[in-house]
Structures are given as structure tokens and as C-alpha cells.
């Protein structure tokens, strides 16, 4: 694929912004500023950002619980994201749903099912709407490796395939559910191997190479638009931190983690751009500082925004 320099540079900014937001979440959680759970996606940014870059603003997207970078890339503002993390009324879900339910009707971010595997059935529904309303949209549904063991995965892929729904199923295979390694819980070697059972085309990509993820997703988008139905993309990556911040630590081999840190998606893409001569150290520093400032400002705005009132518990139950 041919890219403009602007596109490639913008991609780096999006990728680095995602990394910085993820790092901020780790920091804020450690400071006790985020109630509940936080699930760090550090190391998996290329998968979420790369895939979302293939979407239009009208397309639908469903993130995983590690999906802050997906909602960010889809267009939800930094301020909204931090408001939701702090449970503020000005967040996208007004203090009702937390980090995982950062959503936006306007930007097609459909939210999340707290029970793993809800994403598949919701995606089928969104695909049905697109067909019936004759819209030119696609649905991007992220899910983890262990989640593909749910019955809903199998029912949904079968249905999506039969009805040729415009859905892109993107597996963020970071090798772990919580503590179970994917090889211990999945009877096939690759999540992508499952697609053939539903007559769905699949691809395996390096989830830490952002352009590879982007290009595979674009192929799937084009397939969906031309009536070719769903695609399953498996992005191989690795979860650098624990399943959830502050959760029971599960020791994994240090050398494995180090090896993956060396394949850091941000580092790899930066080196790619440097080698091509598209960017230099001065530009990198400028971007770094700009993003730091952006994030600090957003956190400040979020901190100063209103908490919900107790009467708000009754809002949003019924239309």
C-alpha cells in the first residue's frame, strides 16, 4: 500500500498518544485515583490503534476491556476518557459504566459487555442493522484470545457468515486470559484456525507492527463493503502487564516479557519512520512534549468536572 507522509506521521502520533494514555492509567490507578479495575494494554497498542485507523467515523467499533486506545483512536476525547475513569458526570457514560464502557453513539463506539463474549452477538446485531438500513458501514469487534472460547463466538461467526454481515472480528491475542496461557485453553493453535469452521476468511498478523494490522483491517473493510461478509483477523501480541492493575500477580517468565518488550510496537514503528528518514529526533521530542501537555490538560479538566448527583441513579433506566 502507498501512504502519504502525513498519514504515516499521524499514525505515529496516534500510537504514541495511546501508549502515553495507557501509562497514565497505570500511574493514576497506583495513586488510587481510579476506582474498580483498570486493564492495561501496554504493548498491544499497534493492534488496537492500527485496526481502528481503518475505520470511518460512521463505522461501529466494540473494544475490549483493554480498549481505551481503541476508543481514543475512534475519536472519543481525552477529557471524556479521563472523566469516565474518574466516574464523572461529564464522562461518556456519566459515572454509570467506568473505563470499559467509554462509548459514543456519535462516534460509533458501541460500548462493552461486562460478560466476556457479548461483543460477538452485539456485533451481529449491528451488522444486521447495517444490512437492513442499507448503510455503507462496517462493524469492528475486538476480542481476546480466551474470549473466543465462549459459545457466543461460535454462534455469532456462524450467523455473520451465513448472512454475509459486514463485520471484522479482530482478535487481540495477547496469549493470556487472566492466568491461563492460550495454549492451555484453546484446542487449536491459532484463533484464526477457527474461522474455517464458519467459512470465514482469516488472517494472522504481527500485532506489534501497526502497518500490518492496518493493512489487514483495510482488506477486511473492503471485503465487507463489496458484500464479501465477515473476516477474522488474529493479531499476535503480548500482554506486558498483569491482567488488571492491582490484581493477583501471576508470574510469567522474565525472558519472555523482555523479548516482547524489545518488539515494542511504538519502538518498532518509530525506528521504521527514522530509518525511512520521515522523522528526526527533533520532531519526536516535539510530538512527545505536545502529547504530554495534551494529556495533562485533559486530566486537569476531568478532575475539575462535576461528579454525578445521587438523584442521577434513576437516569437512563428507561427512555
Amino acid at each position: 500500500m502507498k501512504y502519504s507522509k502525513d498519514f504515516l506521521l499521524n499514525l505515529y502520533i496516534k500510537l504514541l498518544r495511546a501508549r502515553k494514555v495507557e501509562e497514565k492509567f497505570v500511574e493514576l490507578y497506583a495513586q488510587g485515583k481510579i476506582p474498580g479495575n483498570a486493564h492495561s494494554g501496554i504493548g498491544e497498542e499497534a493492534t488496537f490503534v492500527g485496526a481502528c485507523m481503518a475505520l470511518n467515523s460512521s463505522d461501529y467499533m466494540l473494544p475490549t476491556h483493554r480498549g481505551v486506545m481503541a476508543v481514543l483512536t475512534k475519536g472519543v476525547s481525552l477529557k471524556s476518557i479521563f472523566c469516565d475513569a474518574f466516574g464523572k458526570r461529564e464522562g461518556t457514560n456519566k459515572g454509570k459504566g467506568g473505563i470499559v464502557r467509554i462509548c459514543s453513539k456519535e462516534k460509533g463506539v458501541l460500548g462493552i459487555s461486562g460478560t466476556q463474549g457479548g461483543v460477538f452477538v452485539i456485533a451481529v446485531g449491528a451488522g444486521l442493522s447495517i444490512k437492513i438500513l442499507k448503510e455503507k458501514k462496517v462493524v469492528l469487534a475486538f476480542f481476546g484470545d480466551d474470549t473466543s472460547n465462549r459459545g457466543t463466538f461460535h454462534e455469532s461467526l456462524n450467523m455473520a457468515s451465513l448472512w454475509k454481515l459486514p463485520i471484522i472480528f479482530v482478535c487481540d491475542n495477547n496469549e493470556y486470559g487472566i492466568s491461563e496461557h492460550v495454549s492451555k485453553v484453546m484446542a487449536v493453535s491459532n484463533v484464526a484456525d477457527r474461522a474455517v469452521a464458519y467459512s470465514i476468511p482469516s488472517e494472522i498478523v504481527d500485532g506489534n507492527l501497526i502497518l500490518e494490522v492496518y493493512e489487514a483491517t483495510m482488506r477486511a473493510v473492503n471485503r465487507a463493503h463489496s458484500g464479501g461478509g465477515p473476516t477474522l483477523i488474529e493479531a499476535k501480541t503480548y500482554r506486558i502487564r498483569e491482567h488488571s492493575e492491582g490484581g493477583i500477580p501471576f508470574p510469567r517468565p522474565k525472558e519472555v516479557i523482555s523479548a516482547w518488550e524489545n518488539k515494542c510496537p511504538v519502538k518498532q514503528y518509530k525506528e521504521f519512520l527514522l530509518n525511512k528518514g520521515f522523522i528526526d529526533k527533533e520532531w519526536i521530542n516535539k510530538v512527545d512534549q505536545k502529547l504530554n501537555k495534551e494529556i495533562e490538560e485533559a486530566i486537569k479538566l476531568a478532575n475539575n468536572s462535576k461528579d454525578p448527583q445521587v438523584e442521577d441513579v434513576w437516569d437512563g433506566l428507561y427512555v
Partner: protein
């Protein structure tokens, strides 16, 4: 006025709403060519085509769950889950998604979903094809629940359900599908939260839904001979519940009996009992009584089935004993 069956009335409601609004579509197992396992969707495939009338694989979780996903993205799906017992298969999709998605996402999405299903025992349908699980869903904030007892109500309530922007569980009854009633040709809707006083009376307030309404009415004729004057109220919807009609009646009679086909423990009747004793304790002349199915899975043998589920004879006897004590 013409008389049509409960199934035909439902069919008309669906057809009219699909003609009126192109975003409405219907799907479920055998909904297309067969016209539904209960015959409710006959002729719809021919009229509206394959996009809007779909049969499905045997996949309740994807059927119900995709209903939620479709509803939040601009269409108005009617999903058919053949037997109410199968709501257990897609319980997560109803309990955690349909009911909670709007609230948990800060009200950003509306879920104008109708899940239609057939409840109740039908002479030998046994434990997994006979249940009345509405209490499980009354217990779930975020849903609305309708249980029509006759063809006229079925049409009016289903049209309301389809136009409601909230997720609605619509419990039809297997033994009511063939029952005929006068149903006007002109359009009408029945609002939710609007119980119907089927028979006025001064002695006992009798609340019922679905099949139990006609059994209560039959019992009332017998009890008239013993000078016991029932006021029979068809709740029509349990969420929202028409508390005003219930309390006005209890205020008048001082006696409340709830008749339900569901198992007794943890039933809707138990919930209504709690509400009435909270809000009208002083007007009650006796403790509130429930006439319900016995707390067992519904057995296959017809004699056993009839013993478990309130039939007219048992209703008459229990009401007599209740009043005369």
C-alpha cells in the same frame, strides 16, 4: 365485529407495525417459511421478504444478543424465542445486555427491542417447554414485561411494545393462540401499566395474568352462585405494574388473591403481596393469598400437570376457603 384468534391478532400487530416503519424487522428460529412454531409469523416472509423476516440457526444467545445490537444501531427488531424456557439459554443477553446496556452506557443508546416468547404448560409439554419465568425478569431493572390474556389485548399490547423505545419481554401463552375474540379492524394501542378490570365485584380482588385470567373469570361464575362477588383484574403488564388499579380495588374489597401459573416461591405474586402490604396494610381484612403452581418442575403426566398448575376447580375451592375462613 369480526373475531380473530390470538395468533392472528399478533400477526396483524406485527404486519401493521412492519408496514408502518421500515426499521421494524422480525427474526427467530422457524420465523420465515414455517411462519413460526406457533404460527404467529405466517405470511410475513412473503409480504416483507428475506431481509426483514429471517429464520435463524439454533442459536438463542446470538438471536437475543443480536437483537440488542441491532436495536442500538437504528433498527427495531422483534426477536422470537420459541419457548419462554429457552430464555434460560440467552439469560445473559436479556439480563445483562438488553436490560442494562442503556443505563450502564450513560443513556447513550436506546434499545427498542421486543423479545416475544411462548410460556405456559400445554398438556404434556413438561418441564422445559412449560414454564412461566416472568418473575426472573421482573426482578431485573431495565425491562418491560407484557402478558396478554386475549386476542384484543395481544394486538394492542404488541403494537405498544414495538413502538416502545425500551426492551420489552412479551410473554404469549401457548394455550391462548387459538382462542378467538372480537378485535376491531381500526388501529388501537393499549398502553403499558394499564390493568383491565374484567369483572367488577365487592368481595375479593383477584389479580391474574395470561391464561389464569380466563380461569379466574370461569371461577367467578361458579362463586356467584355462592354469593361471593369477585373483582377480576387482568394485570396485562407486570412492568410497569398498574399499582393504582390494584390498590383502589383492594381498598374496596379488603381481600386480595393473586392467581398465577408460575411456581409459587419467588413469584410475581409474592412481589405484589409485598407491595400491597407495604402500601395498603390497614385496609386488608385478611392476609393476601397466592394461588400458584406447586414448587416443582412441571411434570409430563397430564394428571400430574393438572394437579400442579391452578385449574378452575382448584381456583374455586381455594377462593371459597379463603373467603369463608
Amino acid at each position: 365485529m369480526r373475531k380473530i384468534t390470538y395468533a392472528q391478532a399478533l400477526n396483524e400487530a406485527i404486519r401493521e407495525e412492519m408496514q408502518r416503519d421500515s426499521r421494524v424487522f422480525i427474526y427467530g428460529e422457524d420465523v420465515g417459511l414455517l411462519g413460526g412454531v406457533m404460527g404467529v409469523t405466517r405470511g410475513l416472509l412473503e409480504e416483507f421478504g428475506e431481509e426483514r423476516v429471517r429464520g435463524c440457526p439454533l442459536s438463542e444467545t446470538a438471536i437475543a444478543g443480536s437483537g440488542v445490537g441491532a436495536a442500538m444501531t437504528g433498527t427495531r427488531p422483534i426477536v422470537e424465542i420459541g419457548y419462554a424456557d429457552f430464555l434460560a439459554v440467552c439469560f445473559d443477553e436479556v439480563y445483562n445486555k438488553a436490560a442494562k446496556w442503556r443505563y450502564a452506557h450513560g443513556g447513550q443508546f436506546t434499545i427498542p427491542l421486543v423479545i416475544r416468547t411462548a410460556m405456559g404448560a400445554a398438556y404434556g409439554t413438561s418441564c422445559e417447554h412449560s414454564q412461566c419465568p416472568e418473575a426472573l425478569f421482573m426482578h431485573t431493572p431495565g425491562l418491560k414485561i407484557a402478558l396478554p390474556s386475549n386476542a384484543y389485548d395481544a394486538k394492542g399490547l404488541l403494537k405498544t411494545a414495538i413502538r416502545d423505545d425500551n426492551p420489552v419481554l412479551f410473554f404469549e401463552h401457548k394455550l391462548l393462540y387459538r382462542k378467538k375474540e372480537e378485535v376491531p379492524e381500526e388501529e388501537y394501542l393499549i398502553p403499558f401499566g394499564n390493568a383491565k378490570i374484567k369483572k367488577e365485584g365487592k368481595d375479593i380482588t383477584v389479580l391474574a395474568t395470561s391464561l389464569m385470567v380466563e380461569r379466574a373469570m370461569e371461577a367467578s361464575k361458579e362463586l356467584e352462585k355462592e354469593s361471593i362477588d369477585l373483582e377480576v383484574i387482568d394485570l396485562r403488564t407486570i412492568v410497569p405494574l398498574d399499582k393504582e388499579t390494584i390498590l383502589n380495588s383492594v381498598n374496596k374489597t379488603g381481600h386480595l388473591v393473586i392467581i398465577e401459573e408460575a411456581n409459587k416461591t419467588g413469584s410475581v405474586g409474592g412481589e405484589i403481596t409485598a407491595i400491597v402490604q407495604e402500601e395498603a396494610f390497614s385496609v386488608l381484612k385478611k392476609p393476601i393469598k397466592r394461588i400458584s403452581s406447586l414448587d416443582v418442575p412441571i411434570p409430563y403426566n397430564l394428571k400430574l400437570e393438572s394437579f400442579v398448575i391452578p385449574n378452575v376447580a382448584r381456583i374455586i375451592e381455594e377462593l371459597k376457603n379463603f373467603f369463608k375462613k
